[in-house]
Subunit: 195 residues, 4 copies
């Protein structure tokens, strides 16, 4: 697991550098926050079994793509695509897959831009390519997703259907408000600063 | 300014303790993030002049309430009032004033719960009561406020009126979505966890 | 354990404030580093059994003084006594016991200044007085102690006696060098700064 | 300056990864602490003038090697050479120069292992090779160097000569104690852990 933790540190540093550069050169901080998590051993184990994969370290490295997860939370939707593009274009980042749940939201309303990349990490006496899942979201999408996530871990909910419908409606309102806020921001961006 | 920085550290620690306790005992993290800022010397100076106060350290300590500012960003509106109440009820926290811009939003749509408190800080050879402004907001209110804030520093905006109207509308949508999300959360809260 | 973690945060903040104040007002950073640790549940359990205490939360709070431990690492011996005095004299810090292993080193050469204090911590709905052990050391004492510590966890050491003798000698050399460095620092302290 | 700050972040992450790997795989933490500093604009300016270099950003990137400085503080002398070797052997680190003030201390007693490297940093829309100075020291060497450093900024010191002689003597005692402690550590390292 230490290996994945180190991969997270390397990817986090890459995003911090991008944010610092954009803050200095372009006077904007597209990244609001960076969160990270390591998948728990039991979840990895369950996933290996569920997918009929061998249970071994080599099998984890090859088959499980989301042991290391980073969440990059941006202010606006456009920031997501811009920062993701800058990150993917770096020499030592290999893009393995893309899932755009912003353009095509999940049925329940979930929105997020997911990529799996592989990056080299230099350990004491070897270099290893480690997979990392990066999820890009706006602040509002992230708030919605955290609520939707708690729903997964609950059962015996009265009105589960009506709650899901309500959640879906909130997701749509949030998505359209994100766009309206972004439009306002663009208009403000081109205005002259006050003295 | 060092004094105000230290006061911020003490207040931040108090909120971290509250959040840790609530996370352990009640399995919830009401506080999503804590941000802080120190008012710039030039802004303090301008404010002293504008309000016709003497320009001295003693005058700053007495007259300027928001040199040290902490922003406590919560998931839900109810969390704001609960965390604020816990904080205010602590022995060594003296509440000086309250402005509830959630119950009574500003005309432009601004929502936030502001308090001014005074807390003792122990320096090398003296104890000093320092004023700190604490702003409580939901994640969505904070996002809105950051956009509204950039508007203040811009001039020569075409359609300033229409942007302000649009911002106001977004504020209202955001406020009502916050309430809807809170209702969903309450319903989920009382449901049994899955096995 | 969360309670002890919170107590550590509060005490750490108090030392950071002292260091910031001394850095600004007196242009010196007496504290080089602050480390902390929570005693492991199994160690607490063993200690309760060894000392014939009841095994309960109340018993831990009353009988075990070093569940929460903070180490304050100073540059010079004089800093230790000065910082400790400032800390102890704070209104809300209650001094419970002192062991001065600098004035009276342990037989093996161990040097450190230990105090047990109790401080109030404000949780969600109660105030609790929590005990914290604070160990003050110079950088060199800390380095020595970390080596001596690894010795405790080893057995079957050839020449255990000669190693202990060698460690003891190093402790004495380190202590006298600490004093010489402190004397040099004092002489430099009173000299004028270059332009 | 932002560019150099980012380079420091990247190098710091590389050392943290090495330390994590060694801690997990070999149960040791060779790196005690990592400090960093950016050279102040006025110091850079003075150095450019003193060395008769052009005053421009391009000239800084080419001619000044220590704008970004990282200090890696290790427990033992052997750790220094081992960690330095691991770092230098990484694909994307280019070694530009080495100065070994441990093997050949400065006349005043200064000991430290210095290297200048260049590493690629990925900014928003370009990759830049940035120079970083890395200083490796033991804890004791670092403490000594910080005292020696304050001497440089003082003038009108009575007994400057005797202080310098005293400092030199302390440096030698410290160096020989470092070696003795390292020998003890080696002996302990090969002993069996207690149950």
């Amino acid at each position: 697991m230490m290996m994945y933790n180190c991969a997270i540190k390397e990817v986090r540093t890459k995003f911090e550098v991008l944010n610092d550069d954009l803050a200095t050169a372009h006077n904007r901080n597209p990244i609001e926050m960076i969160k990270s998590r390591i998948k728990k051993p039991e979840s990895i184990f369950k996933k290996l079994l569920r997918k009929n994969y061998e249970v071994s370290m080599a099998s984890i490295l090859e088959n499980i793509n989301d042991v290391a997860g980073i969440r990059v939370i941006c202010s606006f939707v456009d920031d997501i695509y811009e920062v993701a593009k800058m990150f993917i274009s770096q020499d030592d980042v290999t893009l393995l897959s893309v899932k755009d749940y912003i353009k095509t939201p999940k049925e329940n309303g979930y929105r997020s831009f997911h990529i799996i990349v592989s990056i080299p990490v230099f350990f004491a006496n070897r270099k290893e390519n480690i997979k990392v899942e990066v999820q890009f979201r706006t602040i509002a999408m992230d708030f919605w997703a955290s609520l939707e996530h708690t729903m997964k871990y609950k059962k015996d909910i009265d009105d589960a259907d009506s709650i899901m419908r309500e959640l879906k409606e909130c997701a749509d309102v949030i998505a359209s408000t994100d766009i309206r806020m972004q439009e306002i921001n663009k208009k403000l961006h081109y205005a002259k600063p006050s003295e």
